[in-house]
Symmetry: C2
DNA sequence: TGAATCATGTAACCGGTTACATGATTTT
DNA sequence: AAAATCATGTAACCGGTTACATGATTCA
């Protein structure tokens, strides 16, 4: 069997809450908000919206003859599909394309200088990423009410920050150990 | 430009250290050792080996007319390509297909019971994964000398375990907070 | 008015998975 | 001898990216 398609569920998630959006707006959500967790581009989204329209997961909402722009809204069917998906069981995700781990794997010798090189490069990347994530957190969740009305988003951003901070601590420890030897 | 192909480098990494292996053996490395970090199947690996042969990254080593089985070995060119790749700069990896994060993102309301459901399900998955990783660690790195001669592998396995333990602590904290409220 | 951006769409291509196929060797 | 596994390979398909294309609107 082919592997589970995720994109339509994400689009439903984006549309949830009575929102009506056109293709570009949905695309932009991937560029900003949701881009931290998933990627997609307009050339994938437009055909997907057509398919969802056929399946009656979304409907086109008429606008005052603006033409050209097509606004979509989730249907009742779509809401049901989304609700079912949200409570489906998950599995541990497949490994992500992590070149740091992969390269490290191939360096056998403990004294190979490329180990410390990889560790230090990764440290810079992770530091930058932490700054980025904390900036997002400040931007989005400074106010308590935003936290409470976007709690899932808040939680996973919090998790992402803690994860990278844990990674940074680990990197620092390994680097220190290396320097001391 | 098309995105960077990684598979040939991984195959070089697997062949590094004078090893000579056939397609099945390389495929099996993906099923066991390296499967924690990358996936590939034989239908991808055989054509890739052909291409690498054309590029002179690997060569066929003659066996005593066993026929059928084709053993490959890395060439000097291949070693150079691998060495260059290992010191190339990385970037933060694209988001992995993490359904936990994704679903969580779409649950807005702090009091939605699906939040605690997601957290608790994920806790079970992470617990199982930690057991699996620790078993791997015991199996592979009980002896000090194995650690020193596969240090990169040891490091990333260690990191994977610490990462999941951090995740588990975070999940427990969120769940507790939820139950207390 | 020309340039930039908006909004939608299609085409080409690529990496990767699943399924199909086929002789050779090993096991029962 | 039949069944299972080994070893290699091809075909079909699919999700996703990049590039191409095109009218409409907005901006300089």
């Amino acid at each position: 069997m082919p592997q589970q398609r995720i994109l339509p569920y994400i689009i439903l998630g984006i549309l949830s809450g009575q929102k009506q959006m056109n293709g570009i707006q949905i695309t932009n959500v991937f560029k900003t908000e949701i881009g931290e967790f998933w990627r997609s581009s307009h050339s994938q989204i437009y055909p997907e919206l057509k398919r969802m329209l056929d399946d009656n997961w979304v409907k086109v909402v008429p606008t005052e003859e603006n033409d050209k722009e097509i606004y979509y809204q989730m249907t009742g069917d779509g809401q049901n599909v989304l609700d079912e998906w949200l409570v489906e069981s998950n599995t541990i995700p497949l490994p992500s394309k992590d070149l740091f781990a992969l390269k490290m794997y191939f360096i056998q010798d403990k004294n190979d200088p490329r180990i410390i090189q990889l560790l230090e490069e990764q440290r810079e990347l992770v530091k930058d990423n932490i700054l980025h994530l904390e900036e997002r957190n400040r931007l989005l969740f400074s106010k308590e009410e935003t936290v409470n009305s976007n709690y899932g988003h808040f939680l996973i951003l919090d998790r992402a920050i803690k994860r990278q901070k844990g990674f940074l601590r680990w990197l620092n420890k390994q680097i220190k150990q290396y320097k001391d030897a």
